[in-house]
Symmetry: C2
Subunit: 242 residues, 2 copies
Amino acid sequence: MPHGSSFLANKLRKFVRLSDRELECLAQLQSSTVDVKRGKELVREGQTGHVAYILHSGWACSSKILPDGGRQIITFPVPGDCVGLRSMLLRTADHSFSALTDAVVSRVEAPRFAGVFDDSPRLAAAILLAISWDEALVVEHLVGIVRRSAIERTAHFFFTLWHRLRLVGLATETEFTCPLSQYVLADALGLSAIHVNRVLRHLREQGLMTLKGKLVVIHDASRLKELAGHQNSPINHRVMGA
Amino acid sequence: MPHGSSFLANKLRKFVRLSDRELECLAQLQSSTVDVKRGKELVREGQTGHVAYILHSGWACSSKILPDGGRQIITFPVPGDCVGLRSMLLRTADHSFSALTDAVVSRVEAPRFAGVFDDSPRLAAAILLAISWDEALVVEHLVGIVRRSAIERTAHFFFTLWHRLRLVGLATETEFTCPLSQYVLADALGLSAIHVNRVLRHLREQGLMTLKGKLVVIHDASRLKELAGHQNSPINHRVMGA
DNA sequence: CGACGCTTTGACACAACTCAACAACCGTGG
DNA sequence: CCACGGTTGTTGAGTTGTGTCAAAGCGTCG
């Protein structure tokens, strides 16, 4: 619980200075951490349970169910990310949330959270701003996959993931762990698993990056970035509070 | 200005009860309405001008610029929608905003808005919640595009647009005005303009809907809905304030 | 050891894109 | 009023990327 708390607090501090009372209030939002097993679905799309989660360790994904029964993975939260806060606020989950590996999460209870709007609206605004920021990244990703070719999508995805993982110290300058199967990647990239395989081979043969086992190795970051058509998201922070 | 004001106020009231003081504060956020001409780009992606807009009348789109120089249209706001609020908060526009026809908009100035976080944080939270809600719809749309075939995308797009326009009284039970060229539709649907044309022909031949001139006629709503794989977004409101 | 999940590869089909050309429409100016 | 150019819509032919089906190689875990 102290960990989850500090992750979120650190994130919010990027946006707004928080008073001790607000930090206290934030800490109270979170109950103790929970261990979940690989494959466990914590939230199902359409469900009305009023709970959000903060990912502490492990891999997970939030996804939307498609009309044909498949799923589109919206994002892979990295440790420290909040998932489902908006769903909680809007009363109905607009996406599912599942653990992909064994993971540790913190639960954020809706009843406690609701009170924040009246007791500490400034904190509520800060949290919503953080959500909004995450959402901007999701849109970025989805727009990225609509118009890009399979190779570009994949390059873009791994480049972005690498970047995000470095921010939280889970990737080095050349590699990172990524326990995602090609089926899971397919659901995230909007491709068939078979084609994901072909694309990965292509990236490997071009000497750009390798995914072997659960390890991603970046061989040529600049060419990968170029292929991805990556543009640094120029989003700034610090908007509230002088 | 009174119009733009009431549009936004009505929207926020779906989420939270607002005091007179907060309504007052909200009204002050907006300056007078502005007429803009067809084709005018009000916000460019990456720009740091601190202004958001409320669309009052006319057609517009928010879009993201793609690495290859093209654009992906994110959404067509309907009258009453706010555009760019989050961009304003995050200091840098993460999408462009252009008028597609002559239009009337209200400007929301950032300097005034910034103060709201400290002066009326409850209102700020309400606005952020509204933004978050809009964002959920955008994600819905983008996810809709990724996995659907061209015909399904198009059916889904028009069905959703029709629904949104009816909510604001701009569509009847059978038709609505839609001054979007096939090139613009292509940018929104992630297709080539030529293929949009073929798809529209298909929809016409199947007796589902017709786009002729600037008029969309829905011939068979239920079959269109079925083809679109439409699922009513089950998002509820009213979370803050008893 | 066997069973299962994940990866890899090949052959084939089809959806969507590109290029190229032409037709319809619309506003403008002679 | 008609002629004009520009924009938008329409259609065909050929190409390419991606999905589907089928099957074989690996690894891992029980």
